[in-house]
Every structure is written in C-alpha cells, then in structure tokens.
C-alpha cells in the first residue's frame, strides 16, 4: 500500500481585528478550499481566530540558516539605531 500525501499548507490565523495573522501550524489538503476548511477545524475550535490564510508550503521561500550570519549579524553592533543609545541631559524630560 504505497500512498502519497495531499500537499502541505502553512496556516496563519488572525486572533482578532487589529492584529496580524500569525503562523499556527500546517494542514494537508488537496486544494486551498479544503485547506481552509481543515485549518478552521484544527486551529479555531475555541474561537482562536477571526480570519485564516493558507499558503502552500512549497510556495514559501525561506532564508538559509547558513546565511544567518551575513544576513542578521551586521545589525547587532548598530545600537545607534535604537533611541536608548542616546543619552540626553536630565532637563530634557520627554523626547
């Protein structure tokens, strides 16, 4: 009995109005309509969402962990991008 699986879909759920969709997990489904249906059954049984996105996993392009250094390390030593890097005289109450 050899079988293959339905395609894998990444599921994103918006918990309530005003916040972004957040990755919740994956489902298998033959098409986007059933992926939505399966995602609804799996991830929103307790009113966890008001909107769902499904995206075919094979359509996601991810950064390579091997590139993490060149991609993300240059940002680490640039503390001047943060307001806390600048000391102000006490007289300046709010800025």
């Amino acid at each position: 009995m050899s079988e293959s699986d339905w395609p894998l879909w990444e599921v994103f759920v918006r918990a309530k109005r005003g916040v972004s969709h957040v990755h919740a997990g994956t489902v298998h489904a033959p098409d986007s309509e059933l992926a939505l249906q399966n995602a609804r059954d799996l991830f929103t049984r307790r009113a966890e969402g008001v909107s769902i996105w499904v995206v075919r996993s094979s359509d996601v392009t991810a950064s390579d962990p091997a590139d993490a250094g060149s991609l993300f390390e240059p940002a680490i030593d640039k503390t001047f991008r943060h307001p806390s890097d600048f000391e102000l005289p006490d007289e300046v109450a709010h800025m």
């Binding site: 079988e3 699986d5 489902v27 098409d31 390579d64």
Partner: protein, 336 residues
C-alpha cells in the same frame, strides 16, 4: 548567498546534518547548551532527529488511537450535554494527533510514512489505550487519571528543545485541562449519586489506577532513552519524578471523591510530604506493550479499517481538486 538554496518552507524538512558543520562546538551544541530552541532547518545530529521522529510520532499515534476507548461511548453518553462534551474531547484528540504529525513532518518524514509505521506495528502508541471502557465511569476515569497523567508528562514538553514539538505541546496542554476537568466532574457526579453509581466509579478507579501510573514509563533505572534525551533537552524530568508528582496531586482528589485508591501500601510520608506507593506490576506493563493487552488487536483493526475505508474519500477529493485546477487553467488560457 543562496536565498533560493532553500526553496522549502520551514516545514519541509531537513537540509543539513551535523556532518555539514565545521569543527569546534557545533551550532547545535551551542544552541542546546544555551537552552535555545532548535528549528527545522537547523543542522542537527541524526540521532537527535531520529529520537524526535520516534517520540513525536508515537505521541501522535497515541492521540489518535486514544479516540477509540472514549469514542465507544459517544452514542451512549447519559445526556445531550455529556455527549456534546465527549464529542468535543474526542475531536480534540484528533486535533492533537494532527498538531503532532505536523511537528514530526518538519523533521523530514512524510505523514503517510508515519501512519504506515503505526499500521504495520513498527511504531507503538501508549499502552494505556489497550484497556477497555466497559462503563460510563471509565470515561470519567480516563479524563481524570489518563488525561491527568498526560498533562503531568506534557507540561515539561512545552519547553522541549525542538521548537515545533514545544509549540504543538503548548496548544495541546491548553486543551487537555478541559479534558481532565470534565472527567473529574463525571467521577464527582457518580460518587455523589446512588450506591450503584458510586460502586461504578470505584470500579473504574480500580481498573485505571495502576495502568495510569504506569503511563510515566518504567523506572528511570531501567529506562533506555532517558539520559540522552535529558542532555538534549527533549525530556526535562525523569519518569519517577513525574509519577510521584502525579500521585501526590491525585490522592487528595480521590479523597475528595470519597473513593479508595486500590493500593494497600499507599500512605503519606510525613517527613517528605509525598506519598509512598506499592510495587508496580511491570510484567503486566510489558505484556501490554508487547501486544497482549485486552484491546491491542481491536484498536489496530479499527485504525487500519478507518484508514482503508477512507481511501475512496481521499482519492475523490484529490480527483476533484485536479479537475478544478484543470478547469481554472483552461479558463485562464481561454481568456488570454
């Protein structure tokens, strides 16, 4: 820089193994030592990957096989409310199975292969589900004791070193506490009911107590995978520690129900504030693990039957999806 080197999403599986990493403490070791999480595309030792696939898959199998003992009572629940609650609980177990299969798949083993390992007996599920549920009180005892023991085991897994497993467990643990409470409430209702109902509750406790405390697995002195899993942050506490915590939490609950735990050696050790308990019959445990429990054959036959009977549905939905995709494609070409 190969941004297209990984076309796969974070969930399509492994891209590197330990051998790909240069010498010195590997990224994997540094992450483990810092108690950081490992994510699917990170390099990891083959043995870490294999251990996780085995553990997560067996956990997933347990969730879906676990639907059966309680599922048997869906059509016989004593009221519409109890029936709705039990349906929701059994549906949750299916959901937990799916979260876990999803987590296992991130390690590169496809879903159908995991199911095949279950169906051919190459992978096991928790032995507790090989016991029958002869009365409604067994449904109560399962929720109270089996789900209670599962929670004790699962809460530490929310901090497991493998990210997708830990995230699945957070979701599962949130849902499990409803399971335990509904079970305890069934027991409470029976314990406060007629003498027959009380007797039914006691008999269910008698049946489930020992199997429930065996759920934590053999004593640490005999456990095979324990040490390595602890070092890798997959397991956070030993079997005996978790078993003791469960017993200490559960004995006062049994007292509250006015039911007697079937262990004549059970007593509070005043000096430590924990309960001493009697000898566990590990011969029975291993017998059930090896396949000689009361319901092993029935559970597997039901599972394999459900899978085979669903074959035409899977084929039909796939055919429908293919037809819709072909139509959409044709419409697109017609328009251009």
């Amino acid at each position: 820089m190969g941004s297209s080197a990984i076309t796969a999403s974070a969930n399509t599986g492994p891209t590197a193994t330990q051998s790909d990493v240069e010498s010195g403490p590997s990224l994997f070791d540094r992450l483990i030592d810092a108690d950081e999480r490992i994510e699917p595309t990170d390099p990891m030792p083959d043995e870490y990957r294999a251990t996780l696939v085995r553990q997560i898959a067996q956990h997933a199998h347990s969730e879906i096989i676990g639907m059966q003992p309680e599922g048997a009572w869906l059509t016989r629940a004593p009221s519409l409310r109890r029936k709705a609650i039990l349906t929701a609980k059994v549906q949750d177990e299916a959901g937990h199975g799916l979260y876990l299969y999803g987590a296992a798949e991130t390690l590169g083993t496809p879903r159908h292969e995991l199911l095949e390992r279950l169906h051919t007996g190459r992978q096991k599920y928790s032995s507790i589900f090989n016991y029958p549920t002869p009365t409604w009180a067994d449904v109560g005892a399962i929720g109270w004791l089996v789900d209670g023991a599962a929670i004790m085991n699962q809460v530490p897994l929310c901090r497991c070193s493998y990210g997708p497993y830990a995230r699945a467990m957070v979701r599962i643990c949130k849902e499990e506490s409803f399971h335990q409470r509904q079970g305890f409430q069934i027991m409470l209702t029976l314990a406060q009911g007629t003498p027959e109902q009380r007797e039914m509750a006691q008999a269910a406790l008698d049946r489930w107590w020992w199997p429930a405390i065996m759920m934590f697995g053999p004593p640490d002195s005999e456990s095979t995978h324990g040490d390595q899993s602890m070092r890798w942050g997959i397991k956070r506490f030993g079997n005996d520690v978790l078993r003791q915590k469960f017993i200490d939490a559960t004995v006062p609950q049994a007292d509250l129900l006015g039911l007697t735990i079937p262990d004549p050696d059970l007593r509070l050790d005043e000096s430590t504030g924990t309960y001493r308990y009697g000898e566990i019959d590990w011969t029975e445990f291993w017998k059930v693990v090896r396949g000689d429990g009361p319901c092993n054959a029935e559970r597997m036959a039901t599972r394999v039957g459900a899978h085979e009977n669903g074959q035409w549905v899977r084929e039909a939905t796939a055919a429908y999806a293919a037809k819709q995709a072909a139509r959409a494609e044709a419409a697109l070409q017609g328009a251009s």
